[in-house]
Amino acid sequence: MTFAAKLAGVLVSFIARLVTGAQGHWIGCPPEALQRIYFANHQSHLDWVLIWAALPQDLRIRTRPIAARDYWTASRFKHWITREVFHAVYVSRQRTDDQDPLEPLLEALRQGDSLVIFPEGTRSNKGVPQSFKSGLFHLAEQFPEVQLVPVWIDNVQRVMPKGEVVPVPILCTATFGVPMKIEAGEDKRAFLERARAEVLALRPALT
């Protein structure tokens, strides 16, 4: 990791904390250096930065986001910040016949890295997460020893609504729940439904 990348990392997390507080609530598990897949609701571009800033410093370096290759390698700066600062795992959105789209993720898990994924696949602004895509199930199936940690990210949509560029300072939280596993004999649909319910259960009660 170069000095510039380190500096950029410090700067990004400082700004994230200044604007959102980036408070991590570890109610289901402590922040440990175990191999984990964090899966969260997706409402804004800032979601990843928020989780990343909420993690303790020493976990950040081994916790990686997924980035769309065509978008995040388009300019030199985008490529640099995703590669050097966030250590992103690149996936291509175009599907080719001979390659499993999950292959880069499996590779990262084989190396012992943790991942942050947003199983809805796209940003939603309904408040309630959409149904989960099956990638989470396949990862969990192939790496049963990796902890699956549900995360609820709150308030981010207010910081930067779709279509706005400048964020408004509003406090956000990332709530980390109890790690889950695929139950014996559980099929894909039941598992994804349960995973979604686990994420939703972490949502703070509306007052």
């Binding site: 507080g21 408070q23 308030n155 207010r158 408004v168 300072p169 509003i170 406090l171 009660a205």
Partner: protein, 324 residues
């Protein structure tokens, strides 16, 4: 008193801080010893609040010390940051809508810096009217341009209120530091100290008295401990504290006492108003650590200051203009 007056400004300030931190340490120790003796669960709630007030007092003292060390520029910046954090907390719980985005950007990134810039430049006339007059129009105008009529008044009232409390109110604290009172130049820090001490005294005495008197609360649904007698005793205690501190103010003792009473009473009332607001937002502390935000509860701590500082500042200016 003559030996005190023979000291120069620097030494007087050093003495002040010595007294301040010494007293705080003693009070904390006393409360700690009491908490060891007491295991009554009904008291624990008040005990908790007492601790919270003490923490606020420590925080306030350290902030004051820092703002003294760092001079006018540092003080302005420091309070600017506090304003920012307080407003962030306020807006978090105000449930704004998407169409408020631009108004909020204006509040955070234009209004707040400009207000503190005006403090730094000592343009106190513009500083006093900038938010109540100009921003008062700018925020709803921008909001109307966003084209969302739903709950328009409510949303804009919330934002304006937040700016008034967190930016306008709090910016009067560094303004005190920079105010040039006739024959009192360079001693603004004493005024700020006076303000902080007096509001904190009122706060703590009110808490203690409500505990001791156990009067019927005036507004049970807002605060279970607030009663008129406790409030009055808070104001009286503030007056006494102000009288004891008169030698750092530019006025005679009885006037210092009057000021202190006014400021103390305003501070505790301000805190009371904040409690009502919190009840409205459905939280106990602004920090709301259990569910939503994870803030540090800064607004809780600066609320009395936000309300007391403008009253103090403007009464001083008025008084100075009378004497001039």
């Amino acid at each position: 008193m003559t030996s005190l007056q023979s000291l120069n400004v620097e030494q007087q300030v050093a003495l002040l801080f010595l007294m301040l931190f010494g007293t705080l340490a003693l009070v904390s120790l006393a409360v700690f010893v009491r908490s060891l003796r007491q295991h009554d669960t009904t008291q624990s709630d008040l005990q908790l609040r007492l601790w919270r007030d003490l923490r606020a007092l420590w925080l306030g003292s350290v902030v004051f010390w820092l703002s003294w060390l760092s001079g006018p520029l540092g003080a302005t910046l420091l309070f600017g940051v506090f304003s920012f954090l307080a407003l962030r907390e306020f807006i978090t719980l105000a449930h704004t809508r998407r169409s408020d985005h631009r108004s909020l950007l204006l509040a955070f990134f234009v209004v707040l810096p400009v207000q503190y810039l005006l403090v730094g430049l000592r343009s106190f006339d513009l500083f006093s009217v900038f938010i109540p007059v100009y921003v008062f129009l700018a925020i709803p105008a921008l909001s109307a341009l966003a084209g969302d009529p739903e709950r328009f008044l409510e949303r804009n009232a919330k934002i304006q209120w937040g700016i008034m409390v967190c930016v306008f109110g709090l910016s009067h604290a560094p303004a005190l530091l920079l105010l040039d009172f006739p024959n009192y130049a360079g001693r603004g820090a004493f005024l700020l100290f006076f303000l902080v001490m007096v509001t904190a005294t009122a706060q703590i005495v009110q808490e203690l008295m409500s505990r001791w008197l156990r009067r019927r609360p005036v507004a049970r649904h807002i605060d279970r401990s607030f009663s008129f007698r406790a409030w009055c005793s808070g104001a009286l205690a503030a007056a006494l504290a102000g009288g004891a501190l008169f030698w750092i103010t530019p006025v005679p003792a009885w006037q210092a006492m009057l000021w202190a009473m006014l400021v103390g009473a305003c501070g505790t009332l301000g805190d009371f108003v904040m409690r009502a607001l919190k009840k409205d937002a459905g939280v106990r502390y602004w920090g709301n650590h259990s569910s939503l935000t994870g803030a540090v509860g800064l607004l809780d701590r600066v609320a009395p200051l936000c309300f007391a500082a403008p009253v103090f500042f403007h009464s001083i200016r008025w008084y100075a203009s009378l004497r001039a």
